[in-house]
Structures are given as structure tokens and as C-alpha cells.
């Protein structure tokens, strides 16, 4: 059953194992449609694994994970989700336009859709502000430009859900502001749901909702305002640090109790 008003992502008792390590532990959360949801936490806390689970590329995931009304990884979802990995995944030996042309041909195949494809390529080049570099080899671009090409690929098929793994890492402040404006434009004007991971806390303030993670567990699932108010801090960063300290203290107490036993 597809519920348009319902949530874009719903997770219950979601766990994931990589090798012998449990990377995600019993997560339960929802991501509302048409909003920007931030996924925050220190490096190695499981953000990327969670995103890969949502996209359906992560093996050994247990629990329920419903994405756009279908089980995660369902074949029908592949055309409806745009996914950008942490490292830009584009062909370095093709120009920006050739990269987009190819991925557009995969998403919108067939001769009869040639015009739709050309339109999509032009639109996404404008979205990520790379029109002037369209004929440059992706391998010759700067790091920030390459990650924008990678983002452009995800925007090609007008996805309903965008999963972006640290899209602004290592970018200058001007570009970061530009991209966050783009994310909000996509949510407001096109109704796209965005799940954006980051470990930069000032970006958290720009999200509608936040999922705070630490060591494979969820510390909080709330709006930035509510997080600040509940933890009595002026910033989300303060709230996050307070929650992490509390969790660390609880862990230490547990370990101590176990050693006494």
C-alpha cells in the first residue's frame, strides 16, 4: 500500500552487520516526506551503512525498512531514489556532459525519450551550477566540482527520495550554502524528500528534522528547535555533545557493573 501522506522512510528494529561487527543496532525511526532530514553523528557511527540500507545496496540488514511504501531494495524503487556516495562516483575519463548523458540513458532509456533526456541533463547542470564546465573531463575538475557532478547524476531522474552521503564535505562555505539552498529548493518546489548525512553541526540547523547517531544507535529523532530546547543549549552541536556525553557515561556505568559482577 502506498501512502502519499505517510512517511518516506519507516524503520523498525533495523540492524546491520558488517563482518563480525554490528554497525546498526535496533534502529526505529521515520523520515517525513518532502522535508530535509539530517543524519548526524561522528565518523564511523554507521551513517553510510544506514544510507546504503535505505538505498538497498547494504547486505545483511535485518528488521523492517520501508522506503516510499516498498521494502528497501525493491526493484521498483531503483528509478525513484537518487543516491550519492561519499566519494564522487563518476567516470573520470568522460566529460561532465558525457557522464550525465550515460546515466540519463540508463534511467530514461529509448529513442523516444531523447528530448526528455536532453532536458534532464540541461536542468541538472543548471541545478549544480556546472553548465560552464559541461565539456570538461570529470577527472580534471576540482574535488568540489566532481562531487557536484556526482550529485547531478542523482538528480537526473527526478527522484522522489534523495539519499546524500556527506555531499558538502570538504567544500568551501559559499558552495555549501549554495548546495543547502538547492536541497531546500528541491524539497519546497519539487516535493523531494532528502536524507542528508553530515558531521558538520552547523548544517544540522538547516534541516527540518534530525537523526542523531552514535556507535550504531539513535540518540535522538527530533526537530532542531526541540533538540535545543530539551537539552537547554543554544545550538544543535551543544545538544548533540550533551547527548553523547550522557550515552558515554551510561556505557561506562554498564561496563563497570559488568566488571563488578
Amino acid at each position: 500500500m502506498v501512502n502519499i501522506i505517510g512517511h518516506a522512510i519507516e524503520a523498525h528494529a533495523l540492524s546491520a552487520v558488517r563482518g563480525r561487527r554490528t554497525v546498526l543496532r535496533d534502529l526505529g525511526f521515520t523520515v517525513p516526506r518532502g522535508q530535509v532530514t539530517g543524519l548526524l553523528g561522528p565518523s564511523g557511527c554507521g551513517k553510510s551503512t544506514l544510507m546504503r540500507a535505505v538505498v538497498g545496496t547494504q547486505a545483511q540488514v535485518t528488521g523492517t525498512l520501508t522506503v516510499l511504501g516498498r521494502p528497501a531494495g525493491d526493484a521498483s524503487l531503483r528509478a525513484r531514489i537518487g543516491y550519492v556516495t561519499q566519494a564522487p562516483s563518476v567516470y573520470d575519463d568522460l566529460t561532465v556532459r558525457q557522464n550525465l548523458d550515460y546515466f540519463a540513458a540508463v534511467l530514461l532509456p529509448g529513442r523516444h525519450r531523447r528530448d526528455t533526456r536532453a532536458e534532464a541533463v540541461t536542468r541538472t547542470l543548471t541545478d549544480v551550477d556546472l553548465t560552464s564546465h559541461a565539456d570538461a573531463l570529470a577527472g580534471n575538475l576540482s574535488g568540489g566540482q566532481r562531487s557536484r557532478v556526482s550529485l547531478a547524476v542523482a538528480l537526473l531522474g527526478t527522484p522522489e527520495l534523495l539519499v546524500l552521503d556527506e555531499p558538502t564535505v570538504g567544500l568551501d562555505p559559499v558552495l555549501r550554502r549554495y548546495l543547502w539552498d538547492l536541497f531546500h529548493r528541491l524539497a519546497d518546489e519539487r516535493g523531494v524528500t532528502l536524507l542528508v548525512s553530515s558531521h558538520v553541526m552547523d548544517e544540522a540547523e538547516r534541516c527540518h528534522r534530525l537523526l542523531l547517531m552514535r556507535a550504531g544507535e539513535l540518540l535522538a529523532d527530533d526537530t532542531p528547535e526541540a533538540l535545543r530546547r530539551r537539552n537547554d543549549t543554544p545550538t544543535v552541536e551543544g545538544a548533540f555533545l550533551r547527548l553523547v556525553d550522557a550515552a558515554t557515561a551510561a556505557d561506562a556505568a554498564d561496563t563497570l557493573q559488568e566488571t563488578r559482577r
Binding site: Y102, L107, R111
Partner: protein, 245 residues
């Protein structure tokens, strides 16, 4: 399988190569130079050049396509583009057929150049039709593409991928009957050579060399090489996983 996705993939692979003219030049010219070298190595015994030369025309495309495909697919795996493609509505068969088509086309050009040079400039004497030589060369190229695709799944780096060349190709080269007829080998090795696809590639080339018509043995050889290529392509497809740890 979706024809337009296959064609788009093949066009993309060829476009990538076009940005790398040196690789194209090496792929096309090295076989021509090697067959020319061979002609003058066997300057005094044209008969030997005929048989070794015909065999090599089948072995070149296999080796080049093996190397090119294993590195290209490895790059696809490590650059994250494979994960991205498999998260999109692209069938594994679309991707593999696209690669096979692109490299198959390249192999046709490569084999045509080397075969034409051997036949008309170097006086390689072949009893049968040069088109049959080309056919075997193309099947060999497909086999090379298939093997390259398959082993790339077991290589974590370009260093490892290149090492698979001696590991997978050299034993076949030694046992394929190029150096000595297969029935004069130690029986265990002869049995082993019966199980390796390159033996049939070389045998097919020799059939064309000696017979005017398409012999039953030639048909068997061509079918075995084509069958092996298909089998390994299917195995290669199985190594492409949408969900990875």
C-alpha cells in the same frame, strides 16, 4: 535485457576509450607489430610461421581483451560507479552485454588489422577462408572479455588484476598446442589441455589453416570457445552483486 541500455553502455565504454588514444593505439598496433616480428623470426621456415602465426592471431585478442576488461571492470568496481549503476534500474546483463559489445567491436578492428597484415603483407598461407580466421579471433576476444570480467571480481587492486594475466592465460598458452602438438604431451597435461578453452581456439585456427572447407572439427572448436565465453560471462554476472557487505 534492454537494448537501448546495452547500446548506451557500449557507447559509454567506447567514449571512455576515445579519451585515451594511447590505449587504442597500443591495442591496435601491438598485434600487427608482433605478427610482423614473428614473420622475420621464422624467416627461414615459412611453414612454422604459418602455423604459429595463425595460432597467435587467435591468442592476441584473447590476451588484450582479458587485460582491458579486467582493469576496466575493476575500475568500475573501485570507483563506486558499479554500485551506483546497480542502484539504478540497470540489469546486470545490460552492463555485461554493453561491455562485451564495445570490446567485441574493438576486437573486430584489432583482428582485422592483424589478419590483413599477416595475409597480404607477410604472406601467411591459409588454405581456408580468412573470414573464418576472423570469426575465431572474435570468439577469442569474447572469451577474453568474459574471463577478464570474471577475474576482476577476485582482484582488489590493479596490481592483483594484472597478476591474473600470467595466472589465467600462461598455463593455457603453454598447453594450447602452440609449442608442441597436444597429443605429444604427458597424458595428464593432455587431458588438462582438453579442458582449457584456448586449446580449442588454437585448434580452430589450425583447421582454417589446413582445410578449404569448414570442417566438423572447426565447428566443434568454435562452439566450445563460444560456449565457454557464455558460461564465463554468466559466472561474471553472478559476481556483480547489488547488495554488498
Amino acid at each position: 535485457m534492454n537494448a537501448s541500455r546495452v547500446l548506451a553502455t557500449a557507447a559509454r565504454v567506447l567514449r571512455q576509450l576515445r579519451h585515451d588514444p594511447r590505449t587504442i593505439a597500443l591495442m591496435l598496433l601491438v598485434p600487427v607489430l608482433m605478427i610482423t616480428l614473428l614473420r622475420y623470426v621464422f624467416d627461414g621456415s615459412p611453414g612454422t610461421f604459418d602455423s604459429v602465426g595463425a595460432s597467435l592471431l587467435g591468442i592476441f585478442p584473447l590476451i588484450t581483451m582479458f587485460l582491458v576488461t579486467s582493469i576496466a571492470t575493476l575500475r568500475e568496481r573501485t570507483s563506486g560507479t558499479l554500485e551506483r549503476l546497480l542502484a539504478m534500474p540497470l540489469g546486470k546483463a545490460d552492463l555485461i552485454a554493453g561491455y562485451a559489445l564495445a570490446f567485441g567491436l574493438l576486437a573486430v578492428v584489432q583482428s582485422a588489422l592483424a589478419t590483413a597484415t599477416a595475409l597480404w603483407l607477410l604472406d601467411l598461407t591459409v588454405t581456408g577462408s580468412p573470414w573464418l580466421l576472423l570469426l575465431v579471433a572474435l570468439l577469442d576476444a569474447l572469451l577474453g572479455t568474459a574471463l577478464g570480467l570474471f577475474v576482476s571480481a577476485f582482484a582488489a587492486s590493479e596490481f592483483q588484476a594484472v597478476q591474473f594475466m600470467p595466472a589465467v592465460i600462461f598455463p593455457q598458452l603453454l598447453l594450447c598446442g602452440l609449442f608442441t602438438p597436444r597429443d605429444t604431451m604427458q597424458p595428464a597435461l593432455e587431458a588438462l589441455s582438453d579442458a582449457l578453452p584456448m586449446s580449442y581456439a588454437v585448434d580452430g585456427m589450425n583447421q582454417v589453416l589446413r582445410h578449404t572447407d569448414m570442417t566438423a572439427d572447426f565447428v566443434r572448436d568454435a562452439l566450445v570457445v563460444a560456449g565457454c565465453a557464455l558460461l564465463v560471462l554468466v559466472l561474471g554476472a553472478a559476481t556483480l552483486r547489488r547488495r554488498t557487505p
